[in-house]
Amino acid sequence: MIEMQSVYKTYPNGVTALNGIDVHIEQGEFVYVVGPSGAGKSTFTRLMFREEKPTKGTVLVNGINLSSLKERKIPKLRRQIGVVYQDFRLLPRLSVYENIAFALEVIEESPKNIKKRVMEVLDQVRLKNKARFIPDELSGGEQQRVSIARAIVNHPKLLIADEPTGNLDPDTSWEIMSILEEINAAGTTVVMATHSKDIVDKMRKRVIAIEDGLVARDEHRGEYGYEA
């Protein structure tokens, strides 16, 4: 699913975020990416949907070589990958329904199918009754569920979550985690960068720790490994 070979990333300002990463992630895995702030977690996840481009090395996602992907092919890549952010990134002036439908409108899906599919995912994230609300009228947890619904509405094979529980209280975080687990159980690869020791230690999935731009640890059924 994801294949990284000696990936380096240096930003234009001279900061080196990644210093030779080799990672292989199989289809259907659930992977936590952990590590101290500024160690390269975010850069690592952003490489997977071409929000960042590696300075050196190869990044293959679902068979597509992102290092040489042309600018105009990026939209097509992003349609195959669901992305969830810490700050939700919903379109503020669109309703919950419209926010999710947007991801289907860009692939010119028929209105009938859009309606059917949006209602399906709204059901999946348990927000069917909030379809007409705008993001500002929702709680943080609800907004994050909308953003997850949008991420999975296209049936992506890969879901990337960059600290999805970072802005949420523990109870709400668990709600989000159970939804992500369901999605993973249905066959979607999930890569999640997180700072939550609680979640990582309880869920016991594969853990990749990134320190100083290198893979410091890569364990199956691993633990968070840092002080909370």
Binding site: L77, V83, R89, R93, F102, V106, I107, R150
Partner: protein
């Protein structure tokens, strides 16, 4: 692009017009102000142009021939020479008999006395030359003087000079108005766009992350801009049409000189309206495109 996507862009674009609230009001205000100025200015310029053309048509140079030029062939030779001068429009021969007739006619009753000259006409054969471009009248007159067999060259020096001056004024004022107008429009629109850019920057970024192509993002903005342009042209069209109606039907008689003729209300007012609408749509689309373009590189 599928039809439903086009209709989706139309829906989103018009929704956005309402959702933007005061931003829409401010954009429409900028377009309205600009178009109001453009409309008035266009009405004035097009009428001035019309008047100038009318006046230019009336400019003629009279070339009087030496009495020694009598033969048909010699007259033809002079005519050929006149025609060879650049910028000469039409050349018409007028015999001394015709000249006398004109003189008598122009004098009215008093001119009757000149009929006595019927037997020994003191006038000369002449050519009436119309310049192709009235601004070159003086140069043409100078050339005409140099032709052998020409005794005198007359043109209303004063009228021509006044016309040239009038043309100059019109052009200077027109240019100043254009510059002022363009600067105003650019200032008003770029200001509104800047606000729009800041407000939309994040949204465009999100759309791209969800997999929208640049075209998909751009279209609703196109349509929004177009709608803003149309909304912005309503007041200017109403103002210009009613203003011109008033001017044409009420003030016409008061400001009318013999050579000043306003362009007829119908169809001029409608053509002007269409022009204003077109400019409004272009301004609107241009504004939207400018505001989006920079932020498509997310």
């Amino acid at each position: 692009m599928k039809l439903r996507t086009i209709s989706r862009h139309f829906r989103e674009g018009s929704k956005s017009v309402w959702r933007n609230g005061w931003m829409t009001v401010s954009s429409v205000g900028a377009v309205t102000t600009t178009l109001l100025l453009v409309g008035v200015f266009l009405a004035i310029m097009l009428n001035l142009n019309q008047i100038t053309q009318e006046v230019e048509k009336d400019v003629e140079i009279k070339v009087l021939l030496d009495r020694t030029v009598e033969d048909e062939s010699e007259i033809d030779r002079v005519e050929e020479k006149i025609k060879s001068i650049s910028d000469v429009g039409t050349v018409e021969f007028s015999s001394k008999e015709q000249e006398l007739e004109r003189l008598v006619e122009s004098m009215g009753d008093e001119g009757k006395a000149f009929e006595l000259f019927d037997q020994s006409n003191p006038l000369k054969d002449a050519f009436v030359v119309k310049p192709a471009d009235a601004t070159n009248t003086m140069a043409i007159a100078d050339d005409l003087k140099g032709i052998e067999g020409v005794s005198e060259v007359n043109y209303g020096r004063e009228i021509v000079q006044r016309l040239l001056q009038f043309n100059d004024y019109a052009r200077t004022i027109g240019l100043a108005l254009i510059v002022a107008l363009v600067l105003t429009a650019v200032f008003l629109i770029s200001n509104t766009i800047k606000i729009t850019i800041i407000a939309r920057k994040k949204e465009i970024g999100i759309m791209k992350l969800v997999g929208a192509t640049n075209g998909f993002i751009r279209w609703p903005f196109f349509i929004e801009g177009m709608l803003l342009g149309i909304l912005g042209s309503i007041i200017p069209i109403a103002a210009v049409v009613s203003g011109y109606y008033y001017l044409y039907y009420n003030l016409r008689d008061k400001i009318q000189f013999e050579f000043i003729q306003l362009l007829p209300f119908d169809p001029f007012a409608w053509q002007l309206s269409l022009l204003i609408l077109g400019i409004g749509v272009i301004i609107g689309i241009w504004g939207s495109v400018m505001s989006v373009r920079k932020f498509l590189r997310v």
